[in-house]
Amino acid sequence: MKIIVPVKRVIDYNVKPRVKADGTGVDLANVKMSMNPFDEIAVEEAIRLKEAGKAEEVIAVSVGPTKAQETLRTALAMGADRAILIETDAEVEPLAVAKILKAIVGEENPGLVILGKQAIDDDSNQTGQMLAALLGRPQGTFASKVVIEGDSVAVTREVDGGLETVKLSLPAIVTTDLRLNEPRYASLPNIMKAKKKQLDVKSPADYGVDITPRLKTLKVAEPPVRVAGIKVADVDGLVAKLKELGVA
């Protein structure tokens, strides 16, 4: 079977985002960009399934600007077989991304689509669930373990109180949580090889998807700032403060 892995180019997770002075968004000029960390986990899982003989081909897909090709090359260097970029400079909301992915799934017929549970820029946590809905397929979200068993997949999910396992009939949609795996680093030879792998460039219009946003961002602001408080000299000082707070 094929596995499709959508990946998103986002601000690197080590960079502290700065809100633009005019309140229109976050400043991304000259900021280091990387693959969304949850998507790296998704790529890794797909490659491991291929290495285990459960999948034949891993296709990385990204919806984004020309530079998202770099993100796709990273996925190819990790071990994906080919890539598709749906190129647009517009900000595409999760619902529209899900519609584009639905069209690609229609062409490729993958057994699994593995996505990161959320992108660390808009923190929406929607695309995988929306894709599953549009396809009428089951969803295993926030996965910490994925086991393919014949024509179904057992997904262990990270839920608020602990773990939960569900069984989904294939084809299915899986979204990744942190503990699923530790993504590999691409080796230099693989980075070189990735440059020669197939990368097709398409547009949202090729799939007949209207990407007009449904949400209008009126403003983006800094969160309220906490100011540092006081320091106590010793444990007795802390005990006194806890008593004042009424917790001791």
Binding site: P17, V19, M130, A132, V247
Partner: protein, 309 residues
């Protein structure tokens, strides 16, 4: 506006996260609830007592026992025929179900709202809370998840809602529940605890973590959390993780022990009412957000503190 609020429950009782979602929904208009479960009549009856609630739609079916999104989403979509907004708490259940509903309704979901600014305008955190976006929906219907720590809890009693039985299509035949490992603990849940004691990488190993943090937590009746570094180092399981990639908490008192204060951790706890930090490095970033700081070796300070409480 008529809202439909997802009731989070375990087929026995209503979970607190529901109450914050009710408060958010009440700012939009009339509050109706949906209890989808199996043998969950007691939940529906309790939900009807929540202050300000009108109707409680109650769907009782074995297929709804574990809130599988494939089964409950079509039921919600049916009910949305005569509601204007679907409102779910941003729990793992809400986050799983709501986008499936939104896509079926062809609307953009607004995730994790912090405030209601107008009929279709909300604030929500982006970039792990490093920025707050104000967004306005242009869709005919709304699908929203609510950050529990941002809204006061509605009163659990005093309401006089009417329970109305509804039926849905039941099992969609796409998925089934296999089992759960829910951590059993005498301690309060992280996301609803009034006091949290969290440990970081400085705790060395899981034995030291337990020997140091747990007695203090027990003394205070507190929940126990951890930084991602402590989780990654294997001191505690992942469901202890507080931060951007773990749980978002906002207790009355948050005690950070041996936690340096990485951005990713601060994103999960900076809305706590009072933050207390114990760290031997006086330059640790945690002190920039702490209301009360103690610069000390935690291996001396924490046992001393536990002893003196």
């Amino acid at each position: 506006m008529k809202t439909l609020v997802w009731v989070e429950h375990d087929n026995a009782s209503v979970k607190d996260a529901t109450l914050s979602a009710v408060t958010a929904a009440a700012k939009l208009g009339e509050v109706h609830l949906l209890v989808a479960g199996s043998g969950a009549r007691a939940v529906a009856d309790a939900a009807a007592q929540i202050a300000g609630v009108g109707k409680v739609h109650f769907a009782d079916d074995a297929a709804y026992e574990h809130a599988l999104a494939e089964n409950v989403a079509p039921l919600i979509v049916d009910l949305m025929g005569h509601h204007d907004a679907f409102v779910a708490p941003a729990t793992t259940t809400g986050k799983n179900v709501a986008p499936r509903v939104a896509a079926l309704l062809d609307v953009a979901q607004i995730s994790d709202i912090l405030s209601v600014e107008g009929e279709k305008t909300f604030t929500r955190p982006i970039y792990a809370g490093n920025a707050i976006a104000t967004v306005e929906s242009s869709d005919a219907k709304l699908v929203i998840t609510v950050r529990g720590t941002a809204f006061a809890k509605a009163e659990a009693t005093g309401g006089s809602g009417v329970v109305e039985d509804v039926t849905g299509a039941g099992d969609a035949g796409l998925s089934s529940f296999v089992g759960a490992e829910i951590a059993k603990s005498e301690r309060p849940e992280l996301t609803s605890a009034k006091i949290i004691v969290s440990g970081g990488r400085a705790l060395k190993d899981s034995e030291t973590f337990e020997a140091t943090i747990l007695p203090l937590a027990d003394k205070l009746g507190a929940a126990v959390g951890a930084s991602r570094a402590a989780v990654d180092a294997g001191y505690v399981p992942n469901d202890y993780q507080v931060g951007q990639t773990g749980k978002i908490v906002a207790p009355e008192v948050y005690i950070a022990v041996g936690i340096s204060g990485a951005i990713q951790h601060l994103a999960g706890m900076k809305d706590s009412k009072t933050i207390i930090a114990i760290n031997k490095d006086e330059d640790a970033p945690i002190f920039q957000v702490a209301d009360i700081g103690l610069v000390a070796d935690l291996f001396n300070a924490v046992p001393e503190l536990t002893g003196k409480l």
